[in-house]
Point group: none
Chain length 195, copies 4
DNA sequence: AATGAATGAGCCTTCATTCAT
DNA sequence: AATGAATGAAGGCTCATTCAT
């Protein structure tokens, strides 16, 4: 039952299925056949579109990162004050859109996947650098370079830390608490810039 | 030529080899044969001692957690003031003993492994609870319950966050910076308990 | 935009592409998609014209055999003496037109292909019989039947032998040597018919 | 049902099965599973011993070449006159031991296999060089260098030619004829060295 | 105690072929 | 006439696990 112009639809379906399947399994040990079946097609077609399992994973990872990036960018467009922008980044990072169990689980696995796969590592680095520069460009207006650097690193660690804990620690705080704790960390630093 | 009393030696060798293999590979995709070879024995013997690959992994995970736990406990025995004890926990978490590339890599993989494997999840929860109670029992003496809870969660997230970033982010801060940032976070909260 | 009267052009393109692909790959392990792409069309169209991969191969094989046969026939039309005709057959067999690396490589693979595929076997037998009868009809005029038979077999073996060696042995003699050696074999037999 | 010291037995069984399977199929399109089954073991074990299908093929090719080489060497040890030695080489090449349908078929396929596989090409070149030097070292004592070279090439081509024809041409001469024709070619050249 | 022989299930990937458009 | 979407079977290879020795 071949149809024309199916490529983007198929690719999208495969990416969604990949994230769902990984999220559900809790690991990258999902088969192409599983993914393809969930996406409503044969494994052969999945390979036809992506070439290999690795490419499917990378596309899914790219999708998650792009979604997150788009969301942050969209939110940042609404505010201009450095402090507001920093709070926006934090809020966006934990926004329900990016903070679904499924996405976090897949995300975490891709995060670790980067240890093995150079292309995944590259994607992760882009994400890391972008978050860092987003934080720094605002912090630098409020703090000394050294303090800004520290707070940027601290915030990034806290964000990643809450992600991993949310996915894996039973007693991790809920989303609202997570946001509160992270925002507090930020405000404290802005309130006492000399400390 | 089989020898008697080899069991503990063999088990230790296998655990060390497992951590080393996982650390090197950057993932759990290591074969029992690889592990056994590195430990200087046949794969059959590895199964003889542990029963299954999963048990080998769990033993290695337990080993890492116990090492960390023992180290923290040892350090805590030397100090009694809540503030000192909190700083000790942070310092121990990033102590070179626990912060080797290899151990971090293996640790991270076990962390994710817990999503799939109930026994691993249980081990991780023990670690989580112990860290939390260690932090709380000291924080509660210095802060309100609610603030203590927040700071405990924030510290735990930061610790885990720095671990994962250290393993995976090219531009993660070095150990000394990591400690400085985390200790700052703690001190700030202790200095302004009402905030 | 489909065009009319394309069939012969498409078929020719596919046959040429098949020979080129096989020659390049050095084996029959070429995909229909590769062949079709080289011929400037989709794999679907290749099937449309030939029905199956086997038919494509057979058509290519037929093409090589027909080219060779046409060439020999054309050259034979120019000479009438048995000895000249025999030399003509040898010369034609190693003529640059039939002795390109690509054609030899494809030819060899088809030769072996005949072991598996009845239709290919039939084609090969036609070639074999034709070469044999071409040689015999001339040799019989110069030698006894038994000797003629021997020389015909010897020449055929030498021709095939040089083909396969040319394709596969690094130190095989060059074309001019090949011709010289084969012609020598012929002349020796004609010079000493009783031997 | 594992037993000790099985390796050489298994390897031998696999090599024999490979030659038989290829001979029967008439092509290299045989599966590892087929080969393993014929050799009385699982496909996994075949991989355990050889690592890959390619290695299995190469081992089988090596086996055929070594058998042939050993046989020739054994026969050559019995005669010392150049002419006798040359006739011995021819006779050995067509000896029933090396001239079974099965071995010829496998041999031919490996011959073509060499176009694709560098290691197979190397093996083939060794065979080619050895045959050439065997022929040359004797011919050079009876003929001029140039003539010796020609006859060596002619003989090699005829031998290969008869092999391929025997495998693939219905009307190829029988073994005794093949030997007669090749020996005649040799004697003719030795009888009229100036020609 | 220790080995490594042996199995078999499972996965990724390829590809000829079909078919809606 | 032409495309390329789609399938599904098949194959090479890996690996945890078992077991005879």
């Amino acid at each position: 039952m071949p149809k024309v112009g199916m490529e983007p639809i198929r690719r999208k379906a495969l990416i969604d299925a990949t994230i769902a399947e990984i999220g559900e399994a809790g690991s990258l040990d999902v088969t192409v056949t599983q993914i393809a079946k969930r996406a409503g097609m044969s494994s052969g077609l999945a390979h036809h579109y992506f070439g290999s399992k690795e490419q499917i994973f990378l596309a899914a990872m790219r999708h998650i990162l792009r979604s997150y990036g788009d969301h942050v960018r969209g939110e940042l467009a609404k505010v201009s004050q450095p402090k507001d922008r920093l709070e926006t980044i934090i809020a966006a990072s934990f926004h329900p859109l990016n903070f679904t169990d499924e996405a976090i689980s897949a995300w975490l696995n891709f995060y670790v996947y980067a240890r093995t796969t150079p292309d995944a590592k590259r994607l992760l680095e882009v994400y890391g650098r972008r978050l860092h520069s987003n934080l720094m460009s605002n912090l630098i207006q409020l703090l000394s370079r050294r303090r800004a650097e520290h707070v940027a690193q601290g915030l990034a660690a806290m964000i990643d830390g809450f992600y991993i804990r949310h996915a894996l620690q039973e007693n991790a705080p809920i989303r609202s608490e997570v946001i509160a704790i992270t925002q507090e960390y930020l405000r404290q630093n802005l309130a006492h810039p000399k400390q």
